[in-house]
């Protein structure tokens, strides 16, 4: 499966996302923000980073990039799209998913190995998990606090659009401990933590049995690939 990873100016985890796709058995395709060409990919990842320095609002300027026209169209047509961290912020700025992000409640950048609960295991990117499963995924951001008005929160909670929730510690003050959300259809998923950093033993988060051994993130990428194969 060809999975596109879009590089924006200031993208940082784009090569990590490509590596994760490769480790999951997919074929990563580098896409450039300034073009209007999705190169025939079957899924798209908007990677982490500080596109345009996170100036103005995180993800805001990148969401105006040329390629985002095609990304929005493809997402609306049902193509799986995953937004990681900065990519999550872009999805929100592009209104592909509900809500918005502001500065972490404690005002600082934070990095930690974060436990998440999978709340919806039926999206294109989470089908390999089971509902309620707890996974450990590195988190690292400054503007990770997910917020939305009460009505929106009630709606996404009611309709299963909350994909992940923080467990144990809410690291940024996100409403309802929300770590990731999806669109109504379940093909577009965004989350603050970085699944691509938990795909290779030795370079992932510490786990109870061994240091740096966490590979829970791999399931994001195998989920989308397996679902495509099953079609």
């Amino acid at each position: 499966m060809r999975v596109g990873v879009v590089t924006f100016p200031g993208s940082l985890d784009d090569r990590d996302a490509q590596r994760a796709v490769r480790l999951a058995g997919g074929e990563p395709v580098a896409l450039w923000h300034g073009e209007h060409d999705l190169q025939g990919v079957e899924a798209i990842i908007l990677p982490g980073g500080f596109s345009y320095g996170d100036y103005l609002r995180a993800g805001a300027i990148a969401s105006l990039s040329p390629i985002m026209t095609e990304v929005v169209d493809a997402a609306n047509a049902g193509m799986p799209v995953l937004g990681i961290c900065n990519g999550f912020q872009m999805l929100a700025e592009a209104r592909l998913i509900p809500g918005a992000h502001t500065r972490n409640a404690h005002q600082q950048f934070i990095r930690r190995d974060q436990v998440l609960r999978v709340e919806n295991a039926s999206t294109d990117w989470t089908s390999g998990f089971s509902e309620g499963q707890e996974i450990t995924i590195p988190l690292k951001n400054a503007d990770g606090r997910f917020i939305a008005d009460a009505e929106t929160i009630a709606r996404i909670e009611g309709e299963g659009q909350v994909a992940f929730r923080y467990v144990g510690v809410n690291p940024n003050g996100s409403m309802d401990d929300i770590a990731g959300v999806s669109n109504a259809r379940g093909n577009v998923v965004g989350l603050m933590p970085h699944p691509e950093h938990a795909t290779e033993a030795g370079f992932g988060p510490d786990m109870p049995d061994a240091m740096s051994s966490g590979v829970d993130g791999l399931t994001f990428f195998t989920s989308v690939i397996e679902r495509a194969l099953a079609k």
């Binding site: 103005l56 809500g99 409640a105 404690h106 005002q107 917020i147 003050g173």
Partner: protein, 87 residues
């Protein structure tokens, strides 16, 4: 050259952590006259040439679509200054 000032504030209903942090600092400094602090943004756009209706219309649209995110922010004012303001 004329300057257009666009001002954007976090929505009143939402928590503004930055404002809250500053409000806390004021209390610690013994400044108790202030019941709330909110922190927004001020954009100064320098315009080449005249500020026509068309330019203003552009700015209004940019204010809504680019300078602010309506999920969390409100545009509170758009004003035209003749020259950059001085302190």
């Amino acid at each position: 050259m004329p300057t257009i000032v666009v001002e954007v504030m976090p929505k009143a209903e939402l928590l503004d952590p930055q404002g809250k942090a500053v409000a806390g600092a004021l209390v610690r400094l013994g400044k108790n006259a202030f019941t709330d602090v909110r922190i927004g943004k001020r954009f100064e756009l320098t315009v080449e040439g005249e500020v026509t209706e068309a330019v203003l219309a552009d700015v209004r649209q940019l204010a809504d679509d680019v300078f602010s995110n309506s999920v969390i922010e409100d545009v509170v004012s758009i004003t035209v200054l003749d020259a950059a303001p001085v302190a």
